[in-house]
């Protein structure tokens, strides 16, 4: 993890840690918000993507990289490839948020569209690999990606000191796997994952002791619409994550509004879910020091308006 941190130094931003007296009074503990919404490319995903690309052998890397992603991993990988001077191909569903698509293109990636309702993603993937070549960099189930993403917790704890609790959003489980590994190496800290209530596959997976696969959940948290965690993230989470809790879309909205109005920070829905769990009382934080990830901020203004119910 420290090797990953060294590799990322100068590339990723050491994002600020935000605190709020109002927030602390409301939840009854000391909350440290790791604001990855201020990360380059707008989310923590750059950390994992850059580390994975940097870890490829040069002759392999030269062949370019590929991702299936409608979201922040697409931007992170596109930028990571650009920084290494190699090509990136992003396979993206046609209904991906415009702001995320435009950003990946802005980093020089080639976008390959597919219709997620009529086309088979695997088949599209095979075709792209055959036509364009390159190395597939998965968004979470990959040791180098996890190690890069774990630097979020490493940085947070190095800046603010030991934590009692670390609360992290869960999609495929890459961020929490890396963060739990980093945090537990520093001492006795309870690691809590947060999923949308409609998509609690990680919670059920840990409860049932096997990887549970669900249908694409309906939630505003588009970064957490994964249908299952990975084999590797499952193994790490089983060992190092203490509990998974869930939040509703309405709790996420309330938290987005709070972050906007009281902290002047724009987060996307998935980026607010970890704090939503704390604010909704899902995590025992009384009198404790709590680290919380604000994992990303890639949401357009119009989309933000729409999510929060629009304006008069």
């Amino acid at each position: 993890m420290r090797a990953a941190a060294a590799r990322l130094s100068g590339v990723v931003r050491a994002t600020p840690v935000l605190t709020s007296r109002t927030l602390d009074e409301r939840v009854g503990g000391s909350v440290f918000l790791k604001a990855e919404c201020f990360q380059r490319t707008g989310s923590f995903k750059l950390r994992g993507a850059f580390h994975a690309v940097a870890s490829l052998r040069p002759e392999i890397r030269a062949g370019g990289v590929i991702a299936f992603s409608s979201g922040n991993h697409a931007q992170g990988l596109a930028r990571a490839a650009q920084l290494h001077g190699v090509g990136a191909t992003i396979v993206m569903p046609t209904d991906a948020p415009a702001v995320k698509r435009a950003a990946a293109e802005g980093y020089g990636a080639v976008i390959v569209d597919y219709d997620r309702y009529t086309e088979d993603r695997e088949e599209v993937g095979r075709r792209v690999l055959a036509e364009r070549g390159g190395t597939l960099i998965p968004p979470f189930d990959h040791a180098d990606v996890i190690a890069g993403q774990g630097t979020v917790a490493l940085e947070l704890i190095e800046e603010v000191g030991p934590l009692d609790v670390l609360v992290v959003c869960v999609g495929g489980g890459g961020l929490i796997s890396g963060c739990a590994t980093a945090a537990k190496a520093t001492g006795d800290v309870t690691v809590i994952g947060v999923e949308p209530s409609t998509g609690d596959d990680a919670r059920r997976s840990l409860e049932e002791g096997r990887i549970v696969t669900i249908d694409t959940p309906e939630t505003i948290a588009d970064g957490q619409q994964t249908t299952s965690i990975g084999a590797l993230t499952f193994a790490v989470m089983r060992e190092r994550v203490d509990e998974i809790v869930v939040v509703t879309d309405e709790e996420i909205r309330t938290t987005m509004r709070f972050l906007f109005e009281r902290l002047n920070v724009v987060v996307e829905p998935s980026g607010a879910s970890a704090l939503a769990a704390v604010m909704a009382g899902r995590v025992d934080v009384a009198g404790r020091r709590i680290g919380v990830t604000l994992s990303g901020g890639n949401v357009g203004l119009d989309q933000f308006f729409e999510i929060l119910g629009g304006a008069p």
Copy 2:
């Protein structure tokens, strides 16, 4: 100024400096955004208010403090008084933004309302002073306020190193007076002030060599609706500010949207005006290192929606 910085240490937050590759490419220079929107109370005003309250003799301070303010100075002074354990009375027009009123009350201030269209502000002030006593802390035309506000530039330059240009929003001129003093002490830096185009009293004052008073300007930048700069700020600005430029409300809106979408930062209109001048090409920044204040972020979500034209 360094004495002010020492006094503020541990009270005000050393706010983060934000940078953006996209922004730098767009304007052709290196921009360092001093994000005072993340300051406690939501703006730089806490710095001046706290320093002024701290500088009062204890027996005077114990009598409480008073401000006329519809905005961020109200919050800053209310919090500064609360931190010193003394009372604050804020005289506020009835049409002040709800979010700013609620915040001042949240810091324990007593709010005295007046109708700015039917009541005489001076008379209301005399009545409040007679009834409640206390020391009036003006929002800008006061040496201790200016010194406290100048720590914004001091911190910025200490963090990022020498600047070629410093761009600062101008209301009554307190922030720019303090910042120009701090910046010019560090070396050769061009200091540019920014006003809304409808309220260019500072620009005209510097041009005409006398304090020009205007009617309350119509602008979305409610923190810059001052009708004249002060005697002290005029004297400092004459000596240390190189130029004042203006921006339109539409340029401010565009900048607020850019900050929201690309930097995930919420700023109020006045907080965006300095950057608006840079993005609109009013400041010669090509190849230079430019410090820019994002002076505050006190804007409610509904107000933000309304300012930016609402959602579909």
